[in-house]
Structure formats: structure tokens, C-alpha cells
Symmetry: C2
Subunit: 424 residues, 2 copies
């Protein structure tokens, strides 16, 4: 280890220890204390608006000098209205029900022992994000609400903005009597800091949440020695069954593909039951092409319309995140299930049908975090689930799956009340 | 990679793929199918008794030749009665409620979308164990009941016994129409196979459960690239509060320390409130020494009785698993909480008090998988929790915590039913 790396290592270890200490104190706080802290943080964000916007202007200036693209700049940019929305989001999180202390189950054994399974914080959550500076506030607030300390690592592009936001929030927290170390931003842009976080900072990080593009998530999943809440991609399917209402199918496909093409819940592949090829496939394909969506189809679909681009094997594996959709004809529900089992990213898949038995089998047999019947895949979002806010969507099967809101940021323990019971 | 290692690698990859395929078929089986498989496996265990006992005799013979100790031989030994108990345990697991398909939560959003959170299998569970051959049947049955495929790796000492048990169970499963690959035993004694399992067999193992001594668990926790359900140790504390009923305290301490000293729920450290040093400490210490338990005490405890061994710092860190207990005087509940926060293994800790407020604070503030009020720490057991059986006890905060029974071997997904909803 060189001198600079040793210094960074010491810094990161200290951050981990401070987070663990803050987590111990957060774990026993009342809901009122945490909520007061969040409201104070929101207030401090508003009070620090000039500082935050000035820092953001410098980040933007650098990005422009680097020749960064328009959508990137847009993700990075803050203004008065956006900063107000950031503060408002923190207040929205404050008014959610407290996820800690919920009694998840309770029962009494024949010997009189009374068991409770009670939600507790997870501990310390590491969040690694890229360009959106608002993640600092969102993720920090979600962690605090769930009684967890947060270690946030911003991308170098949004580093000044994220630092100014974190500073404001810490000031607010401290004014409300909450340790500022509840929300720490890694003060170094060195990429080695990410590697150290992925190793868990000497068991002082309990879970990592990456917020960013595919290459970030891939690195995190490959290197992390601690659990990760993430999804690599959302390769979402819609299966149009022979018993689908055509008007509903058209409305849902249009929404699922094109409402926003860049979100993980956007549909990427349409599967059409061979039994309704004549009645449903042609109008669906015509509709999509008509609104400017490229259709890449298998031979049966390509035969319907000369504007269809022939699909190749890679298309079934591709999350386009664009106005492109792959379309395959399948042999009924079994064909759809087989296609999804082979290509799905286990994120979100939907069936459109008026046949209840088909719908129930699809819901039961598709092994994805979210499965929908007669609804758009773009509902794959914690807000739409009623979770208030989400820190991300997970496709792993452990602990959290689907949208990760404040409830999913908790663990639990067993509290057992006796009257002197001993074990025979 | 040498030739032998390459061959083993190919074998282990094939085991992983076969397990994943079996898991996909288990995931959609009815409870009746799985239960019929378990009953057939139990029947096959009984029918194969001569083969299993002959295999066990060879394992025992080798162990004796190696000069292995009495308690090890006892863990390894099977006889007719023990094998009947193994078969009975599989039948007991068959009659548990099915953990898959439970509706864990359900709600409707204002737009009419109906959400369900439903329990699903985890996938493929790797179980690495040492000398007890019955783990093959227990773990295999728990995984199958929860819809998971199991990859079992037996220690070389119990390899023949475990193989015979696994063969019998696979025969039973296949007779009931369940893929035999639902329960696979690694057919190699090469320790490199364990390393490959810890890497996850190309994402074909979802979680690892180590069943064995500390060195096994340490290796698994250090090397595993997949989640682990385990506890390294059970350094369990009992805090005797000033408001403790002395008779109850004596009965619970006696049971918690000495009912069985070798289990993870055995008490290792007794904390006594300074306010009841005179009334409670002396009789508790005298009782323990009187029944042959070594007491290692801090200066205040050592001053009570010349037979007390002075404790050193290492004692507060030690899980004795023997008739030895460390005893410290603490300044009330705050002192007990501080001691436990510093030394606990986050497994199981208990408070003895008649003061409800003290008990509630202890239950709320001690960050352990199991916290008890007025009951013995030896209740730390899935059977005593009413879980029917457990595959182990976990002290991590992710997914499973405390006893890991069939419910904890499940994940979940979201099933959403709509009537054509699209996202605005």
C-alpha cells in the first residue's frame, strides 16, 4: 500500500467506525427524533440553497468543459425548483410510517413463552452513485428513516453538489440532536474508495446499494464482499395471450414501452400467443411502428409488415432502453413461460389476458421480482407500490426483492417474554 | 488448473446446473407433491437401513483407526433407533405447513392495482457439514419442503454414511415423481469442492449454510461469494437485574449454563447488577460452584468466594462451551447494555427482572438475533420457537436472523393484478 492509499484506507476505516457508532445510536431513537431530524435536514437544504446551487454550477461547468452530453448534464443540473423538490422528498420520507419496531409476527408457545418478531435497522448502508446529486438527499433520508447510518459515495462529476447537499443535511441533523455521522459522504474522489466500500470497511458496511449505470452495477456485483441490493437490468416482457382484450393490450404495450423508454420497468420484449397472431399481432405491430417504435421481430412477425426488422438472437437478450422492441410469437402460455425463463432478468414481467387461469399460472410460475396481470410494466416503482420512496429495485432473491423502500431497509430480531421458563 | 481440478470443476458445475434445473421444477410443485416426496424419502430411508448402517460402520471403523475421540464417534454413529429418528424427522418436516405461496402482505392502491407479496423458494441451497450424517436427511428435507434444491457436502469422516442416506432419499423422491437432483450430495471428498461451492458454482448456489465447528464457519464466512446463514459463536449473556426474583434467576442461570454446555444457546457470561451484589451475586456464584461449574469473576465477584478464578479480558470474549462461566458486576441496565454491546456475538441474550420497564428496554436495545426476558437462553432453537425444525441459527442481519426454519428458506415476489391500468 502506497502512502496515498494508506491515508485513504485510514480515512475510510474512520468513516466506517463513525457510521457504526451513529447506527447504534439511531437504532434506539424514537420515530419522533428521526422525523424531527429529517424535517430539520429539509429545512437546512432550503437554507443552503445558494451554496448548493453554486457548487452545482461548478460541477456543471466542469462537465461542459469535458464535453459531456445533454442527458448527462440534465441529470446533474439543479435549480431552485429541483432543489425544492429534493427538500420536499425528504419531508415526504419523514411522514412515512416508521419501519422500525413493527411487530412482524407474534405467537405464544404451549409453555407460555411469548414470541415477537420485530423490525430493526439493518445497520450501515453504503450507497454508490453517479451523476444525480439528489441521490445524496433521497438515499440519506431513506436510510435515516429506517434507523440506518449511510455512507454515500458520489461520482466525481457530482462531487461538489453532493458534498454541499450532505453538509446541509448533517447541519440539520445536528441541530435536531442527531449525530451528523448518520449521513456521511466520502470526501475523496479516489476510485479506490469504492473498492474499500465493496470490501465492507472492516464489517462496518452491512449492505451496498449501487445507483447508476450498468458498468457500475456490474463492478459492484462482481467485487462486493457484502450483500448488494441492485438490478443489473430490467429486461421486461409482456405476454399477449389469446384471451387478451386487444384494446387493453394496445394501451398497456404503448405505455409499458414508450411512457419512458429509459427506465428499468420499460418493456423490451413482446411475446404474442400464436393463437392470436392474426387478430392481435398485426394491430400491435402497426401501432408500435406507427408511433415511431422500431420493431424487431421473429420470422412470423416480420412476415406481417415489411417495416419489421428481423430479430437476431442478441435481441432477446437486449435491454434497449430506447424506442425499440423485440417481438416473438410463442406457443401459448407454455411458450411464453419458456421464453421468459430463458431470457428474463427476473425484474418485471406482465401477462395480458382475460383468462383467469392463464393469469394465475403466469403470476405463480414466472420467477421475477414483480409479475403483473393486465397492467403496465412501468408500475415497477416503489412509489407506485405505495412504498413512498425507493432506494432502488433489487432482482436478487435475498432479503429485499423488487422495490427497496424503508421497510426493506430493515432487519428483525426475536423478542421473547417469559415468566421463568427453563428448557426441559 | 490441473487435470484433477479441472475434472472436479466440471463435476461441480454439472451439479450446480442440475440443482438449478431441479429448483425450477420444485418451485411450481404443489404442497402435496413435495410432501409425498418427503414421505417416500422417509420410507426409503427405513428400507435402506441395512445399507446405511453398513456404510456407517465403515465410517466408524476408519474413525477408530484414526484414533478419533469419543464425542466425535458418538456424533458419527448411527444405529437402528437413530436411523428411525432420522426418518421420523423427515416425516415431521413433511407435515409442517407449506412455507411457499404464503401471502405475506396484500394491499390495493387507489388506482385499483391489487398487490400481493407471496413467499417463493430461494433457489439452490448449499449445505456444508462435518461429522453428523443425519444432517444429510434434515437439511435435504428442509430444503425440499421450502421448494429449494440442496447441494450437500459431507465431511470426509461421514462420507459413506451421508452418501447412503442421500442415495436412499433420492430413490424415494424419484418414486414420488420428484427429480432426484433436488437433493444432491457432492460425490467427491476433495476439499477444493468446498471452495467451488463458496464461489457459488457459476451463480447456481443462492445461499450457503455451514453446519459444523468454528473453523468451518470461519472459512465459509471468509471465502464465500454468496450469502451465508451462520453463526460463528453464541456468546450468550444473562443480566441479573436488581429487580430479579432470586429463585427464578437461580433456576434460569442453572438451566442456561448447564442443561447442555455444548450448544450455541448456552450462557457464557453472567452480568450482575451492582445494586444486588449482596443479595444475588453470592448465592448465584455459590450455586454454580456447588454444581461443579467453574466461575471466572471480576474483582468484585472474586471477593465473594475464594473458589472464584479471577477473570482476564479474554474471558469476556470466550464461548466456553463447557462448565465454565464468566461473571461481571455491572452498573445496572446501562452497564449491562454496554458490556453486551462490546462483547456479544449478537446471538442470544437474556434479562432477569421483575421490572417491566427494564425488561422492555433490554429487549429493545440489545442488538442480538434473540433477546429473552425471564427465560433461559437455551430456548435459542428453531424447535422451541415452534418452527418445527431448523437448518441452523444465523447471526447476520440479512434475510434470515435467529433460527433458520423452512419459512426463512424462502424469498418472495410481488404479484400485481390489474384491470388494464397504465402509468400516467
Amino acid at each position: 500500500m502506497g502512502g496515498a492509499e494508506r491515508e485513504l484506507h485510514g480515512l475510510m476505516q474512520a468513516i466506517g467506525q463513525a457510521a457504526r457508532a451513529a447506527a447504534a445510536s439511531l437504532a434506539v431513537m424514537t420515530p419522533q427524533q428521526k422525523d424531527a431530524g429529517l424535517l430539520a435536514a429539509a429545512k437546512a437544504l432550503r437554507a443552503s440553497a445558494p451554496t448548493i446551487l453554486a457548487a452545482n454550477a461548478l460541477d456543471l461547468q466542469d462537465a461542459v468543459h469535458r464535453g459531456t452530453s445533454g442527458s448527462f448534464l440534465d441529470r446533474l443540473r439543479l435549480d431552485g425548483a429541483r432543489l425544492e423538490a429534493v427538500a420536499q422528498a425528504v419531508e415526504d420520507i419523514a411522514v412515512l410510517p416508521d419501519p422500525v419496531g413493527r411487530v412482524l409476527a407474534h405467537w405464544t408457545q404451549p409453555n407460555g413463552l411469548m414470541f415477537e418478531r420485530v423490525a430493526t435497522p439493518l445497520g450501515v448502508i453504503g450507497v454508490i452513485f453517479e451523476s444525480r446529486p439528489n441521490v445524496t438527499a433521497d438515499a440519506g433520508a431513506l436510510c435515516l428513516k429506517s434507523g440506518n447510518a449511510a455512507i454515500l459515495r458520489a461520482g466525481s462529476e457530482s462531487f461538489r453538489s453532493a458534498s454541499a447537499i450532505a453538509d446541509a443535511m448533517r447541519t440539520g441533523l445536528q441541530q435536531a440532536g442527531i449525530p451528523g455521522d448518520a449521513i456521511q459522504l466520502v470526501p475523496s474522489k479516489d476510485r479506490a474508495a469504492v473498492g474499500m466500500m465493496l470490501q465492507g470497511l472492516d464489517q462496518n458496511i452491512d449492505v451496498i446499494v449501487p445507483r447508476g449505470g450498468r458498468s457500475l452495477v456490474e463492478r459492484v456485483q462482481a467485487e462486493a464482499r457484502v450483500p448488494v441490493f441492485a438490478h443489473l437490468e430490467g429486461l421486461c416482457h409482456i405476454y399477449i395471450d389469446r384471451a387478451a382484450d386487444l384494446a387493453m393490450a394496445k394501451a398497456i404495450v404503448l405505455n409499458a414501452k414508450l411512457r419512458r423508454t429509459g427506465v428499468c420497468g420499460a418493456a423490451e420484449t413482446l411475446l404474442i400467443d400464436r393463437a392470436c397472431l392474426a387478430s392481435h399481432a398485426q394491430p400491435l405491430v402497426a401501432m408500435l411502428i406507427g408511433v415511431g417504435c422500431e420493431v424487431r421481430g421473429d420470422p412470423a412477425i416480420a412476415a406481417l409488415d415489411p417495416r419489421v426488422v428481423p430479430a437476431v438472437e442478441q435481441d432477446w437478450h437486449t435491454e434497449y432502453l430506447d424506442a425499440i422492441i423485440s417481438v416473438a410469437v410463442v406457443d401459448g402460455l407454455d411458450g411464453a413461460l419458456a421464453h421468459i425463463a430463458r431470457y428474463s432478468s427476473h425484474h418485471t414481467d406482465a401477462v395480458i389476458t382475460d383468462d383467469k387461469a392463464t393469469a394465475e399460472r403466469f403470476l405463480r410460475e414466472v420467477d421475477s421480482a414483480i409479475v403483473l396481470h393486465n397492467a403496465s410494466t412501468q408500475f415497477a416503482d416503489g412509489g407506485e407500490f405505495g412504498f413512498g420512496a425507493e432506494i432502488g429495485i433489487a432482482t436478487g432473491r435475498m432479503h429485499a426483492r423488487g422495490p427497496v423502500g424503508v421497510e426493506q431497509l430493515t432487519s428483525f430480531n426475536y423478542r421473547v417474554r417469559g415468566t421463568g421458563q427453563i428448557r426441559p
